[in-house]
């Protein structure tokens, strides 16, 4: 049973994942078994999705979504075919004030009454380095679909020998313009540019070392 992090249904350890995504790992080059694709289920238990806007260029306001689900499919043999899809529950937007939450749910912003969810679907993944990837995809908000690139950095990777678990932390960042999706209200107080900050932890079980 997977212990924590995103559940993995099938497939190899994170080491093989990174090989498949371009990391040089000589000992794995000799691995005999066929590397099966790995499917991860992601939700708010394994990470966070936050956004930040600038207000009048004087200060920033942060918010986040507390409910989302997604799937990450990694194909070690064809790393560029790695696929990720995330659906966000728009009504789960979380801000310090209730007035702010109501504003973001309103028709001028996410319009959650009509569009209860937002989607990101990847089309390809580019490997820049063993710990840095660019995810190309599309973002759908308020019924508008627009291309979106995300930068994914693996910030930490750790093998917990005692629990036979290997985990990797990713920080995924991106920038979008809310006007592209028809959110043009309050252009002076709320910046058009929105920074995205997504953190996710992927966990796999590793077989205990024998001998």
């Amino acid at each position: 049973m997977p212990i924590g992090g995103a559940q993995m249904l099938r497939g190899g350890a994170i080491g093989r994942l990174l090989l498949g995504l371009g990391c040089v790992a000589l000992w794995l080059a000799a691995a005999p078994a066929a590397r099966a694709a790995s499917l991860y289920h992601i939700d708010q238990r394994y990470g966070t999705i936050e956004f930040t806007v600038s207000n009048l260029g004087l200060f920033t306001t942060k918010g986040r979504f507390t409910r989302f689900t997604g799937e990450l499919q990694i194909d070690p043999d064809h790393p560029e075919r790695t696929h990720v899809e995330v659906t966000i529950d728009g009504n789960s937007v979380d801000m310090p004030l209730k007035d702010e939450v109501d504003m973001l749910r309103s028709p001028d912003y996410f319009n959650t009454a009509r569009f209860p969810t937002q989607h990101f679907i990847s089309s390809s993944v580019e490997t820049v380095s063993p710990s840095h990837y660019i995810i190309h995809g599309t973002l759908q908000i308020r019924g508008v679909t627009s291309p979106q690139d995300l930068n994914a950095d693996m910030t930490e990777r750790h093998v917990d020998e005692a629990r036979h678990v290997e985990w990797a932390d990713f920080v995924i960042t991106g920038r979008m313009r809310r006007s592209v999706f028809g959110m043009v209200a309050d252009p002076n107080m709320v910046s058009d540019n929105v920074s995205l900050d997504i953190r996710i932890r992927l966990t796999v079980e590793v077989a205990p070392k024998t001998g």
Binding site: F59, P96, E100, D102, D186, M189
Partner: protein
């Protein structure tokens, strides 16, 4: 500024910043006034003023000074603890650092105390002004002494 609908973001922001600038200015002026008061002493009492009226006046003045200092300080702390996290900008451009972080609990308390003290300050200042005007009309040159010492 409190009553404005939340969606009028820019208007609310400007009014709150203006309110905070006025508050900081009042605080600085009150500090200056207290320092001057200490150094120059207070104007002399009228010779024919009964003792109980002197004590009452002194109490009101002390209370006014206290409120003039404490109310803006509480206003600053209210702004600092406000969960919305908007910075304080004196004159709209000079950042005033918040020495405490946001706190929903303290914000609720400070906000109310700041409001009550501000109402008390306005009420006391109005009463003080009425009595000073009355005295002046009686021929005591009160306003001149307030201005010139």
């Amino acid at each position: 500024m409190v009553g404005l609908p939340f969606r009028q973001l820019l208007q609310k922001f400007v009014l709150y910043q203006l309110h905070k600038t006025i508050g900081i200015t009042v605080f600085l002026l009150a500090c200056t006034q207290i320092i001057l008061h200490r150094r120059r002493g207070r104007p002399a009492w009228d010779a024919d003023l009964p003792h109980w009226q002197r004590r009452a006046a002194a109490s009101v003045h002390a209370a006014l000074f206290a409120l003039l200092i404490i109310t803006p300080v509480l206003g600053y702390l209210t702004a600092a603890t406000a969960p919305i996290g908007v910075p304080t900008l004196f004159l709209g451009v000079i950042p005033v650092p918040h020495i405490v972080g946001t706190s929903k609990f303290w914000f609720g308390i400070l906000r109310r105390v700041h409001l009550y003290l501000a109402v008390a300050l306005v009420a006391l200042a109005a009463g003080h002004a009425l009595v000073a005007l009355n005295r002046h009309r009686e021929g005591r040159r009160t306003l001149v002494r307030m201005w010139r010492g």
